[in-house]
C-alpha cells in the first residue's frame, strides 16, 4: 500500500509539523522573553521601600506609593460599580427570559462594548464624567469609566458560570417550595460563585492594566489621593510617563515588573477558579 504518493504525503506532513512547531515555539519564546526581560531588569530594583515611599522629582527618585494606592482605589471602586450591573445582567439573561430578540440585543450590546477601544472609553469618560457631570479629573470619574469598560467581561463570564449550574439543582429548590428569587440566591448563585468571581477578577486585571481610559479621566497627579474626588495617577499611567519621558529607566523597569506580576497573579487566580468550576459540574 505504501506507494510513492502516500510516502510523499507523509513527508509533507512531517515538514508541516516541523514548521508549525517552530512557529509555536517562536510565539512562546516572544511571550516568555517579554516577561523574562522585564523581570531581570525590574525585579532587582523593587524593594519594600520602593513600594511604600513617596516619589521625588516627578518620579525620577523615590518610590511609587501614591500610584499603588490610586490603582487600588480605582480598580476596587470600578468593581463595586460594575459587579451588580454585570451579575444582574447575567442573572436576567439566564434565569428570567428565553432566547429572544431582547436577549440577542443585550448580548450584542455587551459584545460590541467589549470591542470598543480604550481610547474611546477615555474620550467618553472625559466628556461625560469629567466635564458634563463635573467630577473633574478624579478617582470617581476614572472608576466610572473603567466600570463601563469591564462590564462586558463580568457579564459574559457570569453568564457562563450561571449556565454551568445543572438544572436539577433548581428543580430541587422549586420542589421544596422555594420561590424563583430564593432559588437564585440560595442555590444558583453559591454554585456559580467561582465562575462569577473569575469574571470579577478578570475585570480587576483589566482595570489595573489600563492606561488610555484612565489618563484622561483620573488625571496624572502624583500627589497622594485623599478621597475619591481627588485626581490620581495609577501604576500603569506612572509607568507610561516614566518610560515616555525617560525620567528613570530603572524605575520604569521596576514599575513594569510590579504591574506584570500583579496582573499575572490576578489572572492566574481567575483561571484557576474557572477551572475548579468547570471540573465541579463535569
Amino acid at each position: 500500500m505504501r506507494d510513492s504518493s502516500s510516502s510523499r504525503r507523509l513527508i509533507t506532513q512531517k515538514v508541516v509539523w516541523v514548521f508549525l512547531a517552530l512557529f509555536t515555539v517562536f510565539t512562546l519564546l516572544i511571550l516568555f522573553f517579554i516577561i523574562g526581560y522585564i523581570t531581570t531588569k525590574g525585579a532587582p530594583v523593587v524593594t519594600p521601600q520602593f513600594l511604600f515611599s513617596m516619589p521625588e522629582r516627578m518620579g525620577k527618585e523615590g518610590g511609587i506609593l501614591p500610584t499603588v494606592i490610586a490603582t487600588l482605589y480605582l480598580a476596587v471602586l470600578a468593581l463595586i460599580i460594575a459587579t451588580p450591573l454585570g451579575v444582574g445582567t447575567a442573572v436576567y439573561l439566564t434565569e428570567y427570559t428565553r432566547e429572544s430578540f431582547i436577549t440577542r440585543l443585550i448580548r450584542f450590546g455587551a459584545d460590541a462594548l467589549a470591542g470598543v477601544p480604550s481610547i474611546i472609553f477615555g474620550l467618553f469618560g472625559f466628556i461625560l464624567f469629567v466635564v458634563k457631570l463635573k467630577m473633574g479629573w478624579s478617582i470617581l470619574a476614572g472608576s466610572f469609566t473603567l466600570a463601563v469598560m469591564i462590564l462586558p467581561t463580568i457579564i459574559r463570564t457570569s453568564e457562563e458560570a450561571i449556565r454551568a449550574v445543572p438544572y436539577e439543582l433548581r428543580e430541587v429548590s422549586y420542589s421544596l417550595g422555594g420561590t424563583k428569587s430564593q432559588t437564585i440566591f440560595y442555590v444558583v448563585m453559591p454554585n456559580a460563585l467561582p465562575g462569577i468571581l473569575t469574571g470579577i477578577i478578570l475585570g480587576l486585571g483589566r482595570s489595573v492594566a489600563e492606561t488610555a481610559a484612565v489618563i484622561f479621566t483620573a488625571g496624572s497627579s502624583l500627589r497622594l489621593p485623599r478621597s475619591i474626588f481627588d485626581p490620581a495617577r495609577t501604576m500603569a499611567v506612572h509607568f507610561y510617563i516614566l518610560a515616555r519621558e525617560g525620567l528613570s529607566m530603572e524605575r520604569a523597569y521596576a514599575t513594569a515588573f510590579l504591574l506584570i506580576v500583579t496582573i499575572l497573579c490576578i489572572n492566574a487566580i481567575a483561571y484557576s477558579l474557572m477551572f475548579r468550576l468547570t471540573r465541579r459540574f463535569r
Binding site: T12, F19, I30, I38, L85, G109, G115, T211, Y240, F275
Partner: protein
C-alpha cells in the same frame, strides 16, 4: 409582588451594557459630528493637512497610517497565531495544550504600555541597527501590535478548530487522508467563520490600540511611504493631543474618535456575525 419587582429591576440592569454603548456613541458623535459638518467630510477625511490650531483638520494621514499598521500587524500576528492554533489543535500532545492554552490567555493580560516599552527598549534599537533610520516606524508598530493580537487570534481560532465536528475528521482520516490533509482541506474550511472572526477581532484590537503604538510609531503626521517611515494612527492622534486641546481642536479629536468608532463597530459586527455562523455549525452537530 416581590418576585415581579426583582424581575423588573433585573430587566433594567440587563440593559446597562446596551445603554452604555448607546451613550458612548451619542457623546462621541455629539462632540465630533458638528466639527465634521463645519469643515465638511472632504476637508476632514480626505485632507492631508492637520493644523488644528489654525483650523485645518485633515486626518487622511492618520486613517492611512492606522490601516497600514493594522494590516501589517494582521499579516504578522495572524499568520503566526493561525500556525499556533493549527499546531495546538492537531499536532501538539493533549497535556501540552492544557498548559499552553491558559498560558497564552494569561499573556493577553499584559498591559499594552509594557508591550510598548519592550518595543522601545528592544525592537527600536534592533530596527535602527538593522535597517537604519530612527527605528520609530510602521514596522515597529506593526510588530508590537502583531504580538499583542496573538492571544486573541490563537484563542478564538483554536476554539473554532476544536468545534469542528469530530465525525468530519474521522471520516477524512478513515478515507486515508493524512492529518495535515485533513487539517488543511477539511478543518480549516469548516472552521472558516470562527477563524475569520478571530482575525477581525484581532484587527479591531490592533486598530484600537493606543499607548503601545504611541511609544513606538514615531507619530509624525505624514502618509508613510515605507515600512521604516514614522506614522501616526487615529488613536495616537487622539491620545497625543487630548492633554492640551480645547475648542474646535478638542472637537476634532472627538471627530477622530467618531471615525474610529465607526470603523470598529463595522469590524465587530462582521466578527460577531461570523462567530454566530461558527456557533451554528456546532449546534447543528449536536442535533
Amino acid at each position: 409582588m416581590r418576585e415581579r419587582l426583582i424581575k423588573t429591576l433585573l430587566l433594567l440592569v440587563a440593559f446597562s451594557a446596551l445603554a452604555m454603548l448607546f451613550l458612548i456613541a451619542v457623546f462621541i458623535f455629539y462632540e465630533g459630528v458638528p466639527l465634521i459638518g463645519k469643515v465638511g467630510l472632504k476637508g476632514f477625511v480626505f485632507s492631508t493637512h492637520w493644523a488644528p490650531t489654525k483650523g485645518s483638520f485633515g486626518i487622511l494621514p492618520m486613517i492611512i497610517g492606522s490601516l497600514e499598521v493594522t494590516i501589517l500587524a494582521l499579516i504578522l500576528g495572524g499568520g503566526l497565531g493561525l500556525a499556533c492554533a493549527m499546531f495546538l489543535c492537531e499536532f501538539a500532545p493533549r497535556w501540552s495544550v492544557k498548559i499552553l492554552k491558559p498560558l497564552i490567555e494569561l499573556l493577553a493580560g499584559i498591559p499594552s504600555v509594557v508591550y510598548g516599552f519592550i518595543g522601545v527598549v528592544v525592537l527600536i534599537p534592533w530596527i535602527r541597527n538593522t535597517f537604519g533610520g530612527s527605528g520609530f516606524s510602521v514596522l515597529a508598530a506593526s510588530i508590537i501590535l502583531g504580538i499583542m493580537i496573538l492571544p486573541t487570534i490563537i484563542a478564538i481560532s483554536l476554539d473554532a478548530l476544536q468545534a469542528v465536528p469530530l465525525a468530519y475528521k474521522e471520516g477524512s482520516l478513515a478515507l486515508g487522508a493524512t492529518r495535515w490533509q485533513t487539517l488543511y482541506r477539511l478543518m480549516l474550511p469548516a472552521a472558516r467563520s470562527g477563524i475569520i472572526a478571530s482575525l477581525i477581532l484581532g484587527m479591531g484590537r490592533a486598530i484600537g490600540e493606543t499607548m503601545a503604538v504611541i511609544m513606538v510609531a514615531g507619530n509624525a503626521i505624514l502618509i508613510p511611504t515605507s515600512p521604516l517611515a514614522p506614522v501616526r494612527t487615529l488613536t495616537s492622534n487622539i491620545a497625543l493631543e487630548m492633554g492640551y486641546a480645547s475648542g474646535d481642536h478638542q472637537r476634532a479629536l472627538f471627530a477622530t474618535g467618531v471615525v474610529l468608532f465607526v470603523i470598529i463597530t463595522l469590524l465587530n459586527t462582521v466578527a460577531l456575525l461570523s462567530m454566530q455562523v461558527s456557533k451554528g455549525l456546532k449546534q447543528k452537530e449536536m442535533k
